[in-house]
Symmetry: C2
């Protein structure tokens, strides 16, 4: 079959790789219906050193179960399934607590050791704990929104949930990428009435407004902080959803959060340390968030998509086939596309 491999920064190719097959009795093999490119894929796309063997890419998918191991009980051949962006056994303490990203027998897609989901098919370990069947056809118009549950919308939701967003909390979302816009939608869904979106790409912030943002702040850095403070009577917002992962974004987050408030970060951190000095201590600021246990949120979020109440799949603004994946990376790196959907 064919799959996307990254050989170094800027160099993504579609190559023939071995077909996936059942290796463990708990495995499933899934034919990929939809996959996509993640903002986090752009970090290696900008910096990966050369590798002769290439690195398999992709960690978000929706597909059809083609084969299952002898111990798989919860999905069947032919099921349309969401493949969350880590696999997990579903039975360990962490899974039972809803932190599948720390599963004792879990793991993540891609890299040199395992298969990525920007491909025609994939072997899914721990199929019972990982996959979630959805009652839709292979050509459902809901596929993009359902796919968003594998990572991007679940990540925005995780950000809002860990920050404690609710009807009584004001919110600043930092970043108008697909995760930031998902965080806006998630905050709105959780009842937030005041959602300030920091971003300066009008096409994106326009979608943010449709998703529920009440204010858009295009300024960055100190100017951006001043603007958010001005909009909030000088105080900042109770919660800040940091959806970028860069040092200046986390600095802005501490600048716009209200005393006693919470910064949640879901942008994969491209920094090693966080500026939480004595001044932050005096203000009782909490920093939370992390990689989203997407699997945990599926039961809660699925009905809202199946019943049409939210449409997080609107973050996909371009569709490519597998051959178009390298161009898709370029388009996202150039900010020419917000998020690229893949139909293998």
């Amino acid at each position: 079959m064919r799959a996307a491999l990254m050989f170094e920064a800027g160099d993504v190719r579609i190559e023939e790789v071995p077909d996936p097959r059942i290796e463990q009795p708990t495995d499933a093999v899934v034919r990929i219906l939809r996959s996509c490119i993640c903002g986090s894929d752009l970090w290696p796309y900008g910096s990966l050193p050369h590798t002769d063997t290439g690195r398999r890419m992709g960690h978000e998918a929706l597909g059809v179960v083609e084969d299952i191991g002898s111990e798989v009980a919860t999905v069947r051949r032919g099921d349309v399934v969401i493949v969350p962006f880590v696999w997990s056994d579903g039975t360990c303490e962490f899974c039972r607590e809803g932190l599948q990203t720390s599963c004792r027998h879990g793991g993540s897609w891609g890299g040199t050791h395992f298969n990525g989901l920007q491909a025609e098919a994939a072997r899914v370990p721990q199929a019972d704990g990982t996959l979630v069947s959805v009652p839709v056809a292979e050509d459902s118009a809901l596929l993009p929104s359902l796919l968003s549950l594998s990572d991007v919308f679940s990540t925005g939701h995780h950000c809002a949930v860990t920050a404690g967003v609710g009807p009584a909390t004001t919110v600043t979302v930092i970043g108008d990428g697909a995760v930031g816009l998902s965080a806006v939608l998630a905050a709105k869904r959780l009842g937030a009435e005041r959602i300030i979106l920091m971003g300066r790409h009008t096409a994106r912030t326009d979608l943010g407004v449709e998703f529920g943002a009440t204010d858009v702040v295009a300024e960055r850095g100190e100017e951006g902080v001043a603007k958010v403070r001005e909009l909030t009577g000088g105080d900042g917002t109770h919660t800040v959803l940091e959806c970028v992962g860069l040092e200046n974004a986390i600095e802005t987050a501490f600048g716009v959060v209200r005393d006693g408030g919470t910064v949640s970060r879901v942008g994969a951190p491209q920094y090693a340390v966080v500026p939480m000095d004595f001044r932050v201590f005096l203000r009782n600021i909490t920093l939370t968030g992390g990689v989203a246990p997407a699997r945990a949120y599926l039961p809660e979020l699925l009905p809202d998509i199946l019943e049409g109440r939210i449409e997080p799949g609107r973050v996909f603004d371009r569709t490519v086939d597998l051959v178009g994946v390298p161009a898709g990376y370029r388009a996202m790196a150039d900010r020419d596309a917000l998020k690229v959907l893949i139909r293998p």
Copy 2:
């Protein structure tokens, strides 16, 4: 009257200063019955550059109201009152939310501009919002425990509360100083059944065990982390109460916290940044805590002291008069005393 002033690192003197008097209609003047020396006073004691005018010290006290301004309504002359370690108006949004440390009209004791509480008396601004009357005599045996509510025990409690300590959470307390021991007692009071105390001064950890610690880990650094992990099946504890404020303590905290868990810090940070890199992000660790809004916790904690259920005042292991304050600083800096009570 006499008060303690610090002129530089290691140089604390008792000097004559002007008597406090009512300056604003919202002020009270309080004669100090008990004050004490805080672990945080040791930071300037170790590092303060020379100052000719001296710096007033002390931010924890219990006293008797001697005079009140014309607008003061909730305390009367003769009341025995707790003086929390910031003053606050009690009416702004932050005070109503229980974050008196961010009060819009609040402030803190000591320094060059205002009076400290290691003194014979003090002017208390915002008396209605700040002071809490307690129904005890001036020679009550409860005074040390009541005094602990002005800062040290409230700080331990704040640490446990913000960390989310409860019956279902395991706890590591880092630091066997007075705040660490207070955090042990607070965690026990909140129902924690497993409390691991990291400290290596036996006299102190013995008191920690009496306060509720179930395990004591004397090792530090990587060895200490390994020991806590060994005690917890490899996982670490759900909550970590960081009661030191040094970089190695916060590093240890991230080492012993369980995936998905919370580190709360109440040790005044002597560091500018916190190591919350991609590995911490993958583990979904929360960092919370900050300076304790002691005033907020008084209504909840007072009955437990008045009715004898807890005795946080046991952290005081030495008593001095005002003349003995310089020796008290030395004793705490030399770890010869845990926490020094002052009877002016």
